[in-house]
Symmetry: C2
Subunit: 447 residues, 2 copies
């Protein structure tokens, strides 16, 4: 009998789950359901359209229509799933005209993603206050930026800073407000974050840390933001203070949530309800270092989880063991990335660490164009294993993060890293690779 | 009593050995002896000076004079070591004026490097025929290139191709002649090499593979090279057919050579003679995959070995366990690199392999500027461990090589690599990292 697979959601996780299911079961009936009009676009690309690096929002759509035909995927857009009935194995849906229908499934994959979290700032409902999650959000901000002179971004996480850079690139007076004491507070330690802040300030960005947005000012439309008693003028306010897993539908169906209030799954991405799988921003995952639940909420994690969910939902076998949270961005010409735990996060998890930080260059010293690179390594003291890394530098940061991510995944000790073989040619890197030099720095402090 | 350490040679290995010795023993008397006038310069940079990417040959000198003073290193340039007497623990030296002297040592480090190997081609003694090893070689070639119209490079290894690119960049009609059936024959497998060849040919380089240089033509000065019966005009001929370990001095002193006819050492870089250490291009090393002796002859290996030799020679303890031979170059805008074994080399070592090759992009598909990248992975069939990789692509190849080098060193299986976490942001990389996609390709072929 034909297997019926329903995927709720049709973005990174949804599409990768559906594709993996199709590759596993050539005959299954696979249906994707999404509220949105546009599907499977890259949310991560939104700030870069705003900054003008990508021509249009439509360029972010990764899978063209012919992909759905080729993969034989039924796609229902602008359709809301109103209920999941795990006993009857059905989902109730409603299209944009209000027509209701009930669909049968054998296996279900929930990829409902996340919803922007907007703190209860007074005035947050005013015109000119935006979040950055959907293409519609992006289009609205883009429209607003065309006439705006000034912007305030609330939140100095990845999205907040990426949008702030876009605003600055478009000539707006741009201010970032971060409640926590430094930028990228979940991703970097203070010393590294301070460097990022300094670089952005040198480009003309104003950054206020350790203070919250107290009120969004203006009668109907926003005119400014009140921060620490100061009125900062703003024609546009973008709130980028993180997201919350979208679990309402799953919860109502009896799907168990974990300690992070996101969907809990086993290694096969199956929930407590047999036949219901979940993947992406709506699930919690195991941190590979702490072995504790964490929220990864990165595109890479989403697609890997989704692939596993899709394979299993289609009768195959695959597992997803956890995440390190490897991340990367580029702000102006500076690449910034990390993997594993920060020193701060390790401390909070009760892990005793030794760290080492060095500044080096990306090419042979005598080769024109060499750029500075700064690397911080975090090592678990007892085992001497690498458990985290942060890099700020001019080039090849992404693949250095990948190299250190591989090292952490394979439980490389800092002594092994200090001896690890790397390649060298004057135009592209240094004889003594900066990652290796950073490891030597840690070893000196281990003694 | 003050420890006396003599280092024979004063380039990458010599200087790193001396520096490590100094850091280990603050009071030792450390003397470096070299035949050359200039010391501690980057040989790897020579082709890039010829190509005009680095302004002058003097820029290649990595350590300024004040470094020797700061590190309290005695440096004897233009001085030849004529004999080592391991019983008396002395070396006999002769300066450029012919003055002879005998120096006492407690521990000796031999870093005599390698000598260009020029095959017995008829006419190789003619004017206009060069090798590329020293700054003097570089200066002579540079001089010749100023008036030359055409060049023939004999040998399509790294140095050969790098010099050929430099010649082409300077407007010469440039031909490369390689006796083996494809370019970079020791470093790449044929399929990958053919792509490199095609790219270079598209830039205007003529490449002849599978044929040797039969004769260097011209009465006194070179006018051409005879290849497969064809006369190829050339005002300059550069022979880049590899190097041979420079072991004469060591051999005469009773230092044991290994099966590669280079100096054999233990893990502490000590030779069969107690107190005599060796490092760099003159030693053979253990290949980390095959566990058999190999000639690495890369700058990175040299400095790592030298550091270990220097620490041990100064009474410390350090080990060097072997090399993968990770390498990288940039030819025009294309980065090319590898690590571990090629499929061909693995076959010769009797290792059964499964390989996978993919072409992907270096950034999100929709992000302008994404460049193609091609990755080949070589996996040992029984253990499913990664044992080699080759990459040709537009950006971030060096750090991908490092990531795969780490993976091989930590014995990562291809299944682990296919699940490995990588980072992602649209401007700098793809959601599905090409290394991971290549691993999936191998897995499909393992079944």
């Amino acid at each position: 009998m034909t297997r019926k697979i329903i995927v709720i959601g049709a973005h990174a996780a949804g599409l990768d789950a559906a594709s993996a299911a199709r590759k596993t079961d050539r005959t299954a009936e696979i249906t994707l359901i999404t509220k949105e009009k546009k599907t499977a676009y890259s949310r991560c690309g939104l700030p870069f359209v705003l900054g003008g690096h990508i021509p249009t929002f439509d360029d972010l759509v990764v899978f063209p229509e012919r992909f759905y035909k080729m993969m034989k995927l039924n796609l229902k857009t602008e359709t809301t799933v109103t209920n999941i009935d795990p006993k009857a194995k059905t989902v109730a849906i409603q299209d944009k005209s209000g027509n209701e229908e009930t669909l049968q499934y054998d296996n279900l994959v929930i990829t409902t993603g996340a919803i922007p979290f907007v703190p209860p700032i007074k005035g947050r409902e005013k015109k000119g206050v935006y979040v950055v999650r959907t293409i519609e959000d992006g289009e609205k901000i883009n429209q607003a930026l065309q006439t705006a002179k000034s912007a305030v971004i609330v939140g100095a996480g990845l999205i907040g800073l990426e949008v702030a850079v876009a605003c600055l690139e478009r000539g707006l007076k741009t201010t970032v407000v971060e409640f926590l004491p430094y930028v990228l507070p979940v991703l970097l330690d203070k010393g590294m974050a301070d460097r990022v802040q300094k670089e952005l300030e040198e480009k003309g960005m104003r950054i206020i840390v350790g203070k919250g947005a107290e009120e969004i000012l203006g009668t109907d439309k926003v005119t400014g933001v009140l921060v620490g008693g100061e009125e900062i003028p703003a024609d546009v306010v973008v709130v980028a203070t993180g997201v919350r897993a979208n679990v309402e539908l799953a919860k109502n169906a009896g799907v168990e949530l974990g300690e992070k209030r996101a969907i809990k799954t086993n290694l096969r991405m199956e929930t407590n309800i047999k036949g219901i799988y979940a993947a992406g921003d709506c699930v919690e995952t195991i941190n590979l270092v702490t072995r504790r639940p964490t929220m990864s909420q990165l595109g890479t994690t989403a697609v890997k989880q989704a692939k596993v969910a899709g394979i299993n939902a289609a009768g195959g076998y695959a597992t997803f063991t956890g995440a390190l949270g490897s991340w990367i961005t580029r702000l102006f010409d500076t690449e910034i990335g990390g993997t594993g735990l920060t020193e701060f996060m390790a401390g909070r998890a009760g892990i005793e660490t030794v760290t080492g930080t060095i500044t080096s260059k990306t090419r042979a010293d005598y080769f024109p164009g060499a750029l500075p690179i700064r690397i911080k390594l975090i090592v678990e003291k007892e085992s001497e294993k690498l458990i985290g890394a942060q890099i700020i530098g001019g080039e090849e940061v992404p693949q250095r993060i990948n190299a250190l991510s591989f090292a952490i995944q394979k439980e490389m000790t800092v002594r092994e890293l200090a001896k690890a073989e790397t390649c060298y040619a004057p135009p592209v890197c240094e004889t003594w690779e900066p990652m290796v030099l950073a490891a030597e720095m840690v070893i000196r402090r281990l003694r």
